[in-house]
């Protein structure tokens, strides 16, 4: 239903020219909160008109927050989807604010029945307001809540079963969490409903103070590419999208990264 997306890269204003020039690109993503409904970026509309599939990616909906999702945020996602002719919309299995205080980033939810109930209610409310399917992305987290009632794979599987949402699986997050917990990243792949994966994220990070941070400001490490290859050997997702959010390298390096992702996934190069 979502169709084949291939290798993509997240659209950002700083690399707009680079993304526009990729001859084989069929798929990109834009941070939904950065899109002004009255003045969407012209380069993005040009990609849309060229037939490139654009996924609005929300970062501030707070699906895992104990407060109901804000209707105006859902409406903005819906309008982005219509404006960009999007095949789907994505958000996170996370919360970003509580008690009126903004965290400034995606924070993990406890792996409990109570958190599942809240996520389910918020995802259903979001789905009801969207003209296209929703995919939800498990995040990278440096810490876990105490008193978990589920393993991560079981938690996500139940969430997907309850809501009918697709998964946006971030391979770099799987790697980061496993590395920081001292676990095997491939073990999580075995416990996830891979047939529900709409597309994957892939990115680089760096180590600070003995912990791997998924910063999107560094090249994709070989271990993450190897995990992408392992995932694709189990079941290749419809698309893999490179996220880069700063310290942008020269175009040749970004092209080489996209080519390496294509090789690891067994997909056509887009460069």
């Amino acid at each position: 239903m979502i169709g084949q997306l291939g290798v993509g890269i997240g659209w950002r204003p700083e690399i707009s020219g680079f993304v526009k020039e990729l001859p084989g690109l069929r798929f990109t993503e834009v941070v939904a909160e950065s899109v002004h409904e009255g003045h969407p970026p012209a380069d993005l509309l040009a990609l849309r008109d060229r037939g490139v599939r654009i996924v609005p990616h929300g970062v501030k909906l707070s699906l895992g927050g104990a407060e109901p999702v804000a209707p105006e945020r859902v409406e903005h996602l819906a309008r982005c989807a219509e404006l960009l002719d999007a095949p789907l919309v994505s958000e996170h299995v996370a919360f970003v604010r509580a008690g009126g205080v903004e965290a400034g980033h995606l924070l993990p939810v406890p792996r409990t029945r109570a958190a599942l109930d809240v996520l389910t209610a918020n995802i259903r409310a979001t789905q009801a307001g969207l003209p296209v399917p929703l995919a939800v992305e498990p995040i990278a987290a440096l810490f876990d809540w105490p008193d978990a009632e589920y393993e991560e794979g079981d938690f996500l599987t139940e969430l997907v079963e309850r809501t009918g949402a697709f998964l946006l699986l971030d391979i770099a997050n799987v790697y980061a969490n496993a590395r920081n917990r001292g676990e095997d990243p491939a073990a999580l792949l075995d416990r996830l409903p891979l047939e529900r994966v709409a597309y994957c994220h892939i990115a680089g990070g760096d180590e600070q103070g003995g912990r791997y941070h998924d910063t999107h400001t560094a090249p994709v490490p070989p271990e993450v590419l190897a995990l992408a290859k392992e995932l694709c050997a189990r079941r290749r997702p419809p698309g893999l999208l490179l996220e880069r959010d700063g310290r942008y390298p020269p175009a040749a390096e970004l092209r080489a990264e996209l080519d390496a992702i294509a090789v690891a996934a067994g997909l056509e190069p887009v460069t």
Partner: protein, 146 residues
């Protein structure tokens, strides 16, 4: 309105610990939570640097640490207000390029420090050696004749 008051309270305690100097709630790995909070501060510093490049450049390689020290117990209201609040708090020590960046922003938007900035139709702001002028969205810096 809350879907789950107990979860809401637990989430608020965690967010306050990470952004507003609150204590890390019991049961969490405090070192890991603080490492995550530092990561968020670095990310906020990077976002401010992209939005206000002259402000960040004023501090050279010390930018991320300087911003993180100031922001550690100030929860974000978005990168624009992070930048604006920081610039106003450090106005006395900013070099000319950063002061012009601040003046141009203040000419474009009105900001009371409490609520979201609002666009201005027109404004004039002093900058070192001249004035920043904004009329219907167009801004320019004019040097003072001497």
């Amino acid at each position: 309105m809350s879907l789950d008051p107990a979860l809401a309270a637990a989430q608020e305690a965690l967010v306050r610990a990470m952004t507003a100097g609150g204590e890390v709630p019991p049961g969490f790995d405090g070192d890991a939570v603080r490492a995550a909070a530092r990561g968020i501060l670095r990310k906020r510093a990077g976002e401010v640097a992209r939005a206000w490049p002259m402000l960040a450049a004023s501090y050279g390689p010390a930018w991320a640490d300087t911003f993180a020290g100031w922001a550690a117990e100030r929860p974000t209201n978005g990168s624009m207000r992070d930048a604006w609040d920081f610039a106003r708090a450090h106005r006395e020590s900013l070099p000319r390029a950063a002061l012009i960046e601040l003046a141009l922003t203040e000419a474009r938007h009105a900001y009371d420090g409490e609520s979201a900035p609002r666009p201005r139709r027109a404004a004039v702001r002093r900058v070192p050696g001249g004035v920043a002028v904004q009329l219907r969205g167009r801004t320019r810096v004019m040097a003072r004749r001497s």
